[in-house]
Structures are given as structure tokens and as C-alpha cells.
Symmetry: D2
């Protein structure tokens, strides 16, 4: 299982979480990574934790003030990027352009979407993975793998129908190891996490709990 | 073949074009329709021409100032709507929401996209049809069916791979009957037109030329 | 006082409200107008009610699929337009472009904004009027003229500081004649209304109540 | 004069330009600063150059994936931020929210705009400075201070009319010291630069040329 910890703009110490991610990653068969704010990518990557961007723009080098260039986050140490997170919804044409921009910079890609139909659409754009996150469950502490197991299975089927090479992750409300196991049982190859780890008093303990049953 | 004439915000007389659409539709096996501005839908529909909206919003009845409600354009006489035209690009989640809003109001749906990958994505959302329009050819007079035949065939295959019930149209630069025939030979079930008819001195003659070889 | 009834995409009969607006306008010193959806402008204007658009786009004639052209709504009978309503927030550059587009088509302009600072900004773009609507009060039934009188007075001062020719309206939660009188006492030259009239069982009675104390 | 070098997403070495900015700043009466991509702010700030963000979002700490938080760029060493650059146009309400977010993090603010009317609007939001950049001159090498001197003077007057405490900068096409002097003569207190320095073979020489006549 792939466990990606999204730090959003939470008031956490990105280095502390990154070190927890790095340490837990080394002690488990799961693959654990962290997605800090763009401004923090370089220092987070220096910890040795697998580092992702939360977003990159569908652009190339050039006149793009205030944009996030795939090559720049890759140079800073990111190895992948989230795309179209529910807090950063993109136009269809821009998701396509961002997948291409990320691939150009050798960034792994996870395109997020709300529901199985949109997951099928995301899979058609050829990313490495898609992630289904029902918006109504984000930040609730109610795990998608329990509250809405059908949405995970339907998302797996929707992606498989379009392109069987695209992995499916799921997110929203996941905070325990049982949630992660349940996600895997539904066909997901990974999970997106955020507040459960980023806001934990002890991120290492929170992550160890998450990967313990894997 | 389905021939949809998009009037955009061209300085044409929508009634004159609508009457041409109505008359030519009655004299050919092709299905010919017109998409005026939202403000003109009611009067265009009164001509008896098949009338489409150029866009509707992913909303329901409620507090939505300045938005276009599917039910309202349907009540005014529209029977279908374009979605995600290259001049009105939408977020993926909003294309999904708009397809659902249009279906709720019994509007037929055509989701536009730039290229075969995005066509596959659009097809995954379950519209009645998708339309591939390479942005670089729009308004050029160089027909996509001649300038870039691969993009049409690839779009047909991309849609078929995702959902074989979704029809594929194509657009950009189409202005003659030969262009329409070529589009059909590539697997398209219809074409989107705009300036070739909307800006013609004689819209009826322009439409007759278009459907003559069908 | 200017009383503008915004029908949003409410499930009301726009003709019934328009006739109420027309009739009450004739029986009072207040100026009463109605802003239906773009699709309904022509039929609403035919009632003889003063008709406004809810939004127009910062465009000219041309290739603009799914957009609302100022000239088209003017030709359909609109005499003014709301701009930048809180349910249709625009980029600063597009508010500027929309004010210019509306003036080109001889539409009167009311630029909406959230607070006094933004009202000053809106006034700097040279519209005929600005309208302050605290988002947190919209649709509440709690009138801005009572819940937050300072915001109305501060908006009047902010607009006057920038351009004393720009009128100031206010909106949000206004549903009684006393609310309108209170708005006028705070320096507003008009009010924006929506659900209080559009959703009333008897729009004429609701409007008569509103203008009775004027 | 304030000289702000915007690195956009140019394929330049941000450290090399930052060191040039730092060195030239120390050898002149002008104030010289650099705005790298968000990902590069920390390492650029470590050079000792005055460092700005190209953009921050109108948000606070919280669930904002892929956004740029004012506090985070400040913690990384930025002392100011551009807002509403023509390549990153914002809604009026978001410019207001961004100015407030930047002030909360003690970032100096420069709000960009296209023309004098929008400059007046930007000044009404209370930033430290505004910057007028006619979009048609950006990247042309034709300096605004020569091609369109009226737009600079009119912008100075528009800002002064609204709030005399707001400084006015100008940009677009500025590449020589004479351009900077001309801008100052028109009332501007600074200039925005980009390709003239960021793409120069020798950024230090380019900057020295710029500040030499000051």
C-alpha cells in the first residue's frame, strides 16, 4: 500500500512530519510519502522522506508569474504530484496539461476526483494513479472505506474499465490502520491522508498505527 | 449526420439562421440544429428549428445569480446543450455536474474536448455525445477532417474504448459538404459548425451546400 | 429609492414577478426593476417592467461560446446589469471590462462587492452604482441595514471618497419597508432584493409592503 | 527607486540572479529585490537578497491543498509579495483577501493592474503599493515609460486620488537605466522587471546598467 500524507496548509512542522514519514517508511513494507507546501519541498526532501508536490500547473518554462512549474518542484526533490485535489479543482484541459507537464519532469502523478464517473475520466488522461475522495467525507474522521465502500469499489472498476494500468487510491476520513486495510480490501492500492497525521501530537506514532496492520 | 450550428456571440441574425436551419433540416436526411445565445433561445425555438444551448451551469434551482439553469433553457425550448466548449472550459467536476444537470432537464448533451485523451475522459462522464475540436483549428477554415484526420479517428477509438454508447462529433474549420463527408468517413456521427454558416451572407445556401453530399 | 429584484435561478414565475414590479413601479415614487435569468429577459421586458441582466461578460461580438453579450441582453430589452454579484465573483480586470462592455451597449451598471474596501475599488472603475452586500447576510432575512449599519455607511463613504458620482445601493436580508427606509437613512440610494419578493406567495403584496413607507 | 526582479518560471538560476540582486543592492541607493518561484524562496532568501513572493493565496492555515500561504513564504524569508500580476489575475474579493493575508504575515504588498482605472481600484484595497503594467507591453522590450507615459502618470493620479499613502510602480518592457529614470520622472517610485535581468547572460551587469543613472 501507498500512504501519502498531505500537509495542506496546516500549521504543522513539515520537517517533523517528514522525518516521521522517512522513519516509518523504513520500518514497514508500505510505501510512505509526504506532500508539503511548495515552499517547503526542498527542505522536506532533504530529510530523505519521499516528497510530493500538492499541485503543479499545466505550464512550461516561461512567463508564468505565481505558478508552480513541474521541473522546479522536481529539482527541489519532489518525485510526484497530486493533481486536481478537491481543494484545487482544475479544468479538464488543465488536468490533461498537468499530467503531461508532470511526466515531462519525471514526476509520478495522482489525479484526484470526487466519484467513480470522474475517476474514469481521470484515468483516461493516463496518469500513474487516480484517487477517489468523496468531498463530503474529507476532514470528517469518517473513513471512506467504511462510510462509502461502494464508491471505492466503483472507482476501482471505473478506472480498470478505462485503463487497467492506472492504480486507484482512496482518501477522506482515513485515520487508522483498519481504515487502510479496508481500503486495500476494496481494491485500492493506497490512501491519501491529511489531518490524521499532520495534526497528530506524535506523527510517528500516528503513522506507525496506520501501517501496523499492513 | 448531426450538424450543429453554434452562433457564439457572432453579430448574426439568430432568427435568419434558425429559419435556414429549420428549412434545410426538413429537406435533408441530416439532422440540423442551431445553438444561439441563451438570451435568444426562446425566440429561436419558436421558429421550429431544433434549438440547443451553448452552455448550462452545474447548478439546480436556487441562489445562483448570473448562471444558466438547465431547466430554464429547456423551458424556453432548448433540447440539448454543448458543455465544455473550448471557449467555455470547465473543471472536470463541473462537467460531471453539468451533464447531470442537463439530464435532469432532459437536455441532450455534447461534451467538447481538445484531443483524444480528453475525449476519453469526457465519454467516461456519460454524456450522449462528445465532440473533438483541436483548438488550433477553430475558426481557421482548415477542416479538422482534412488537417488532422488522425485526431478524429483517435477520438472515436478513445470514446469507444470507454463507452461505446457515446457518439463522437468533430469540429473546427468545417465549412463544406466534403468536410462533413470526410468527418463521417473517419467515424464521426456529426459536426460542429460556427462561422461558416453563422457569418455566411446566405445561411440557407451555406447549409444546403453542407448537407448536399450527405 | 431604487429597488432591484434579483430572480437568481429561483423556481418562480418571472412573468408574474415582472408584472408585480411593473404595477408597483407605477404606483409609487420608488423605481422598481427586475433582473431575471438571461434566457427570460425578452419575455420579462415585454411585460413593460424595467428589466435588468444579472450578469454580462467582458466580451465583444465574436467567438465566445456560452457567454452573455451586453448588446444581446440590451437588444432583448434589458436596460442595466448587475456585475460581480457575490454568486458570480469576477476578476478585477473583468469587472473593468464588463463595465466597459455594458456602457458600450448603453446598459446601466451596478457593481456588487462584499465590504467598504471593495466598494471603493468598484467605484474606481466608474460604474453608475455600487452595491454592498455582506455575504454572511445574503438570504438570511436579517437586513444589512439593521444587522450591520456601519457597513452601509462605510460603503457610502468609501464610494464617495473615490467618485462622488457613483450611487451606493445595499443588499442582503432586506424584506420589509422598514429595512428599505433604514437603508436610505444610512445613505443608500437603493436596495437589492431577491428571495423576499421572488419567493413570496404574492409578489405584488410583498413589493407594495416594501415601497409603502417610501 | 524600488527595482523588483520577477523571475516568473524562467529557466534561469535563481541563486545567480539573487546574488546579483544582493550585490547591486549594496552598491546603489536604489532598493533592489528579487521574486523567485515559491519553491525557491528559502534558498534565494539565504543569499541575503531581499526576497519577494510572486503570489500568495487569500487563505489562512487550514485545508488548502496546493495553495501558497502568506505565513509560509514569510517563514521562508520573503518580505513581500506581488498580487494580481497579469499572469495571475484574481477576483476582486480575492485581491482584498490576499492583501489582508499578506499583512497578517507582515509581507509588503504590491497589487498589479492593467490600467489607471484598475490602479485606482487596487489602491482602494489598502496595499503598500500598486504597479501598472499594460499587458500589451509585457515582454516586448518596449518600455511603458516611453511607449505609454500617460498610463504611468494617470496611474499615479488615480492612486493618489484614492489613497495618497499608496506608492505606484510601473512595469512592462523596462530594460535600461533610462527606462527607470523615465519611470521616476513620471511619478513612479519603482519598477517591475523580469526578462531583462532574469534572462541576461550577466544579471549583475544588467542590474548595474539599470541602477547606474539613479
Amino acid at each position: 500500500m501507498f500512504v501519502l500524507v498531505n500537509l495542506k496548509t496546516y500549521p504543522c512542522d513539515p520537517i517533523e512530519v517528514a522525518e516521521a514519514v522517512r522513519d516509518v517508511n523504513e520500518s514497514t513494507d508500505a510505501r510512505v510519502a509526504v506532500a508539503p507546501q511548495a515552499t517547503n519541498i526542498a527542505q522536506v526532501a532533504e530529510t530523505g522522506a519521499e516528497t510530493w508536490a500538492q499541485h503543479v500547473d499545466p505550464i512550461d518554462y516561461g512567463s508564468n508569474t505565481g505558478h508552480t512549474l513541474a521541473e522546479t518542484v522536481a529539482d527541489a526533490g519532489a518525485v510526484g504530484t497530486l493533481i486536481n485535489h478537491s481543494e484545487q479543482r482544475l479544468k479538464l484541459a488543465d488536468i490533461d496539461g498537468t499530467v503531461q507537464a508532470a511526466e515531462r519532469a519525471d514526476l509520478e502523478t495522482v489525479v484526484c476526483a470526487n466519484n467513480p464517473a470522474q475517476i474514469g475520466a481521470a484515468a483516461a488522461l493516463g496518469p500513474d494513479a487516480v484517487a477517489v475522495e468523496p468531498p463530503e467525507l474529507i476532514g470528517t474522521g469518517t473513513p471512506v472505506s467504511q462510510a462509502d465502500p461502494d464508491v471505492v469499489e466503483d472507482a476501482v472498476n471505473a478506472a480498470r474499465n478505462v485503463d487497467s494500468d492506472v492504480s486507484v487510491l482512496c482518501g477522506a476520513g482515513i485515520s487508522t490502520g483498519d481504515d487502510v486495510v479496508a481500503a486495500g480490501d476494496l481494491g485500492a492500492e493506497g490512501v491519501l491522508l491529511a489531518s490524521g497525521v499532520a495534526k497528530a501530537d506524535d506523527p510517528t506514532a500516528a503513522l506507525e498505527d496506520l501501517v501496523e496492520p499492513l
